[in-house]
Symmetry: C2
């Protein structure tokens, strides 16, 4: 196992031709990185490729992926529901283990610079890597999409952080940055009353007065006859999962409703589960060295 692990989840603008997505993912192969998941979305005509690796290996793998995607994807022929501005639309780097957010910011800048120099794509740094506040939010950068970027890129305030001051004719532009791990977390409520889910979603999400790193919506789960609070937790270190769960549970109880269960969509970092366990048990000064397997891994290193 590597000493330091960073995750990278490039979003590419192809979600229908599986052979193209697999070809782009195959370009990643090499030492110090590994593709662990491919997720195609035909409606959005977009795919998410999940790669993990050490900083150096990961950089090489991502460069190869971008090169292959630019060869295989032509945005002039791309249609889908999801907004997009590039053949490779966005490349987020996420610290997983033995790597800090600063490490990921540094890596995103190195990779962004090389994408500009070696592949001749305009690069915007976003989120934690942004060079100014207006570029922190990906949606703000992406506004106008591929079709609008030919003119947007000429505006002084939208000069790319790296690379040419005009879009790549077929591959557009790309956003590269560092962000925290995003946990997709849903809580099911033992009621069929959608109003309850919507009220609770509104109570817990940041935008309407709730917890800082929570996005939430209320949905019906028709096949089960119950409702769900569907959430994105964008910083589990500052807004821990158990706190979110407890708040949803309290808000539900206040409405005479119990929590039926909860689910993680995709994956979550091990530390997030350690945090839940140590908070639930009120363990003070929890250290991962309490975990037998972590002790073994340290001893074998």
């Amino acid at each position: 196992m590597w000493d330091s692990i960073i995750e990278c989840v490039p979003n590419i603008s192809e979600g229908r031709r599986r052979e193209v997505v697999e070809d782009v993912a195959a370009a990643v192969a090499g030492p110090g990185r590994q593709v662990i998941d491919l997720s195609l979305d035909p409606d959005h005509n977009r795919s998410v490729i999940t790669i993990v690796g050490e900083p150096d290996g990961l950089a090489e793998g991502v460069l190869s992926l971008v090169r292959r995607a630019v060869e295989r994807i032509d945005l002039r022929e791309h249609h889908g529901e999801h907004p997009r501005m590039g053949a490779v639309d966005v490349i987020p780097f996420i610290p997983v283990r033995g790597a800090t957010m600063d490490d990921c910011v540094r890596l995103s800048r190195t990779v962004g610079k090389r994408i500009a120099e070696e592949i001749d794509l305009p690069v915007y740094l976003y989120e934690r890597s942004a060079t100014n506040a207006a570029r922190r939010n990906l949606a703000t950068i992406r506004k106008g999409e591929f079709e609008g970027f030919a003119t947007k890129i000429a505006l002084p305030e939208w000069e790319p952080d790296f690379g040419p001051k005009e879009i790549h004719p077929s591959a557009g532009v790309v956003a590269v940055g560092a962000r925290e791990f995003l946990i997709a977390y849903n809580i099911n409520l033992a009621t069929s009353d959608l109003t309850v889910a919507k009220e609770i979603a509104s109570a817990v999400r940041s935008s309407s007065g709730g917890l800082r790193y929570v996005k939430a919506l209320g949905f019906p789960l028709a096949e089960k006859g119950i409702v769900q609070v569907s959430m994105n937790l964008t910083n589990f270190k500052k807004t821990p999962i158990l706190r979110v769960f407890d708040l949803v549970k309290r808000e539900a109880e206040r409405r005479g409703v119990l929590v039926a269960g909860s689910e993680i969509v995709g994956t979550l970092p091990r530390q997030a589960l350690y945090d839940v366990a140590s908070a639930a048990l009120q363990i003070k000064g929890f250290s991962s060295q309490l975990v037998l397997e972590e002790r073994i891994e340290s001893a074998l290193r």
Copy 2:
């Protein structure tokens, strides 16, 4: 990392001469096993050596340890508070990961047989490896200790499972077996009233009507001015930590007392923390494949 991990924690009858303990532990060295902890207890004149490894490597390492311990420790000169019957007193094998209890039972029998054949020690199989109910409990086997075993071993019902029908003159006999991981878990209560800790210990421990796999005692923590329920959880799969915590918390609240915090002494298996987290969050059908690092480890294997 190994595909399957078993832990072995031989208890040897030497806890004062550090050089002897270190020499015995050093004999373990070799491929497929690793000593991860040495814990000397001078009062008990006894040490616990924590080894992890794959079945084959672990077997070789434990055999070497027993051979060295028999050379270096003479029970005729041994005194200490803890009851003991052998230079190597007991050798428990514990499934950690990718290995079942049955694997550990098989391994304990293989190792026991080889100890008898290669080192000429009488071997008793205990706990999950026991060949009859009377040998399940280590304390029952050990009764009479080293000094009494010269006659005890001659009784038909105490014929060893493997090896000679008389004790080794200096090293006595040894118990070998498989058991579940034991978690040493303490809960601190926000009161100085020792009665509360003792009552709760009595309520939660199996012997007085509590949970099946809990041993518990109430202690004062003089330096902090509070009290503690100190527990051994002998099967966290059947009596999960969070259930123990919740019961102690309820019993404390019923006495007007809050839980101040809790602590793990030593280590616990990662699965035990996953169990706490998934129970606390009411995650149905939790799988370790939800954990990013587990997914990475599977992909790299």
